[in-house]
């Protein structure tokens, strides 16, 4: 039972990270109707930028951890958001009215570009960082000596996710930008006729998605203490699975899907086998799409000739 409780905590933390990435997929899919294949790599770039900023700040002699974290968060979000904007501008915007396969392939190409760009720029080796936030609470000490722990970093990950989610829900539901986004999602032509700047709205969607992915990247860095150039691919597919599981286009769905995928992956590793944890996640994607093609909270798609 204690073991299960511990896995539950770990799974929720991992799920929060997946959820943050999944929001980027679900938003872009909702508005542009394409799978932003490069989004996983944007997450990886976010992790790298967080790492580099952190290193520079530490070498300048900064010691106040909260200040460092805040600066790292802001820098990483800002630069990664610019990456998201650039990717949209270069690879997707020229193809917006092209045939269906073109943006997908362009996105795959962009994903290769980003992966190999960071490999060339930062080397292929895994970059470890020493634990930045230490300490935690012991929740329960079991009879067998097994301790259920909740570390500070886990608390930070979950709180950051909740805050960002609240902020983001507010942004979508009650700001001008959010209204524009929802309008574009329903009908781009009509939205543009009513004075919505469609190009700008789509750009902003990518910017926000990338910023959230940057937060996820930074949380990943803090939680696992490492980044490498290849981590975007698998994390991206899992986050996409989460978005599909929750119902693509639905924001609460993305978060819910992320939590479920995180839990399933952690529990699978804990009770079955670590080697096959990715197989489990991918199998879930397939099973969900067969039996629940619209996901848990999604809307059914209408077929038209």
């Amino acid at each position: 039972m204690d073991y299960f409780a511990q896995q539950l905590i770990n799974g929720l933390v991992l799920g929060s990270i997946y959820g943050l990435i999944a929001i980027g997929y679900t938003m872009v899919y909702g508005i542009v109707g394409m799978i932003n294949f490069a989004h996983g790599d944007i997450f990886m770039i976010g992790g790298f930028i967080a790492l580099i900023t952190f290193l520079i700040l530490v070498s300048f002699g900064l010691t106040a951890i909260p200040l460092i974290l805040l600066v790292v968060l802001l820098v990483s979000m800002a630069i990664t958001a610019l990456y998201g904007w650039t990717v949209e501008r270069i690879a997707y915007r020229p193809l917006r009215h092209s045939f269906r396969l073109a943006p997908m392939l362009s996105a795959i190409g962009m994903s290769f570009v980003l992966t190999n760009y960071s490999q060339v720029a930062q080397g292929a080796r895994v970059k470890p960082v020493p634990p930045i936030i230490t300490g935690g609470y012991t929740l329960h000490e079991g009879a067998g000596g097994f301790v259920v722990q909740l570390s500070n970093i886990q608390i930070i990950v979950v709180i950051t996710t909740v805050v960002l989610l609240a902020l983001f829900t507010w942004l979508v539901s009650s700001t001008r930008l959010g209204r524009d986004m929802r309008a574009c999602e329903q009908d781009q032509t009509m939205a543009s006729l009513l004075g919505v700047d469609v190009d700008r709205t789509i750009s902003m969607t990518f910017v926000i998605g990338a910023a959230l992915a940057a937060v996820a990247g930074m949380m990943y860095l803090l939680y696992y203490g490492l980044v490498d150039f290849f981590m975007g691919f698998v994390a991206g597919i899992k986050a996409f699975t989460a978005a599909v599981l929750g119902g693509i286009g639905s924001l609460p769905g993305a978060m819910l899907g992320g939590l479920l995928i995180g839990l399933i992956e952690t529990l699978w590793s804990a009770y079955f086998s670590v080697e096959y944890k990715d197989v489990a996640a991918f199998s879930i994607l397939i099973v969900v799409l067969i039996f629940l093609p619209t996901g848990l909270l999604g809307r059914p798609e209408v077929e038209k000739v």
């Binding site: 580099i52 290193l55 045939f99 396969l101 190409g109 060339v120 720029a121 080397g123 597919i237 197989v279």
Partner: protein, 462 residues
């Protein structure tokens, strides 16, 4: 679009130098921010696991300058070319000459391919490259059945390639298992039929059939999916196969792969220096090149088989059904076409060719490991099909030649290869989203054979 290209060019040139400079400056500024940390600072873990960093402002400045210069060049090119959609009038003589050349390309290319081992007999490198290109031509033609004809976007094609390769490798080493009954408990035993020199020829169809079986297995769950969902599920399927190959150590050898895979024989006669070898029997001096030449013609034959079967299938009702499915699934169903069998046959046919190519790959390499079957391979084959214009057999062949040849050109710049590949994919999609060969002859036509622009057909609708 514009009736007068010259006038259109005039208006677009109007903003002038200031506009171009401003655009380039903004690009450079964006590049400066993007590259500031990723290129300007290099991190590396030291020997004690401690991270260190050093700055590379020179590289950063160079990159930003490149972006600045590059965006000026791009802007100038754009103005020279005119606005997007400008129609250029080509004189009829040029058009007819081009179409004549277009008709001649395929036979000339085929004859040249047949002659490659004769011309380049002593150039081992070119022969190897030729085999590689032909392998990708075959894979491209195989995937073309699924993506180009049936319009089902498959991102996990490499899975079937892997199934074919591992089927051949494992069965060739163990022999074909068959049960036999005896009086000794547990009464049913499994024996292995050793194939000896005939291994490749017996197992080649077996690999194809097994891969086709996996194609159907993948096909069933994805019957209801369309478009992007289908793409991502096939991708997940490909990854599952690779992960299982990587982790199922007792059968597949895990990351170490399978080595010592039997080489192919010329219908039972090994291509070895021994007394039973082909060279001895023919009374000529043995040379390792014989095997390479044999492999070259083998993959050429397999690729041509793929092409021939595809062309024939397109004229059968099933081929017509594939193309109808690509154009519109709902309409297809309304017309009484069984979409289930149509999709499954497309998957099975494509997978079978992938499996055959996989068996060839295994026998050629003599060693396979999960590393050869990553997502990159799927993306490469898909890029070949899309670049080739989806559905055009000649286009796929040319695209394979261009892609693999281009890859070889960048062999020296090893770590930049995938970077360039990704950029090329993005640029090609922007420049020619319909592929190099944007026209193709319709399979069915009324009275007169006329080419239709592929802009008029929908693809990848699943």
């Amino acid at each position: 679009m514009s009736a007068n290209p010259a006038a259109a060019m005039q208006t677009s040139r109007a903003p002038g130098v200031a506009f171009i400079l401003k655009k380039a400056l903004i690009s450079a500024l964006v590049a400066l921010v993007l590259f500031s940390l990723m290129i300007g600072v290099r991190t590396e873990a030291g020997s004690d696991g401690q991270l260190t960093y050093w700055t590379r402002f020179g590289d950063l400045a160079m990159m930003v300058a490149t972006v600045f210069g590059g965006s000026i060049v791009v802007e100038l090119l754009r103005q020279w070319w005119g606005p997007v959609g400008t129609v250029r009038i080509v004189p009829p003589q040029v058009t007819s000459a081009l179409s004549l050349a277009g008709r001649l390309v395929a036979p000339v290319l085929l004859i040249f391919t047949f002659l490659v081992p004769v011309i380049f007999y002593n150039e081992r490198y070119i022969l190897d490259l030729g085999i590689l290109v032909l392998t990708y031509v075959m894979l491209g033609w195989g995937l073309n059945v699924v993506v180009g004809l049936a319009g089902l976007l498959d991102l996990g094609y490499v899975a079937f390639y892997a199934v074919g390769a591992y089927s051949y490798a494992l069965l060739a080493q163990s022999g074909i298992p068959y049960p036999h009954v005896s009086m000794v408990p547990p009464f049913v035993h499994v024996d292995f039929l050793q194939l000896g020199p005939w291994a490749f020829w017996v197992l080649l169809p077996v690999s194809g059939i097994l891969a086709a079986f996996w194609g159907v297995l993948l096909g069933f769950p994805v019957l209801r999916l369309r478009g992007d969902y289908l793409a991502i599920v096939t991708l997940a399927f490909g990854e599952i196969i690779r992960l299982v190959l990587l982790n199922w150590q007792s059968v597949t050898g895990g990351p170490n792969g399978v080595s010592g895979i039997p080489r192919p024989t010329m219908f039972g006669i090994p291509l070895s220096p021994g007394d039973d070898g082909l060279a001895f029997k023919l009374g000529i001096e043995f040379s390792p090149t014989h095997r390479i030449v044999f492999l070259f013609y083998l993959i050429l034959a397999l690729a041509l088989l793929t092409n021939w079967v595809t062309i024939r299938l397109r004229r059968l009702p099933i081929g017509r059904a594939w193309e109808a499915l690509r154009e519109d699934e709902v309409a297809c169903r309304a017309l009484g076409i069984n979409t289930t069998t149509t999709k499954l046959t497309a998957f099975a046919t494509g997978a079978m060719f992938g499996g055959l190519a996989g068996a060839f790959f295994a026998t050629r390499q003599g060693f396979i490991s999960p590393e050869s079957f990553t997502f990159h391979e799927s993306a490469l084959v898909l890029a070949i099909v899309v670049l080739g214009g989806m559905g055009s057999q000649l286009g796929v062949a040319l695209a394979a030649l261009a892609m693999i040849g281009g890859f070889e050109l960048f062999r020296g710049l090893d770590q930049y290869r995938m970077l360039v590949f990704g950029m090329a994919m993005v640029l090609l999609m922007i420049w020619r989203p319909r592929g190099l060969i944007g026209h193709r002859a319709p399979t069915v036509f009324l009275e007169r054979n006329q080419a239709i622009s592929s802009d008029l057909v929908k693809e990848g609708h699943g």
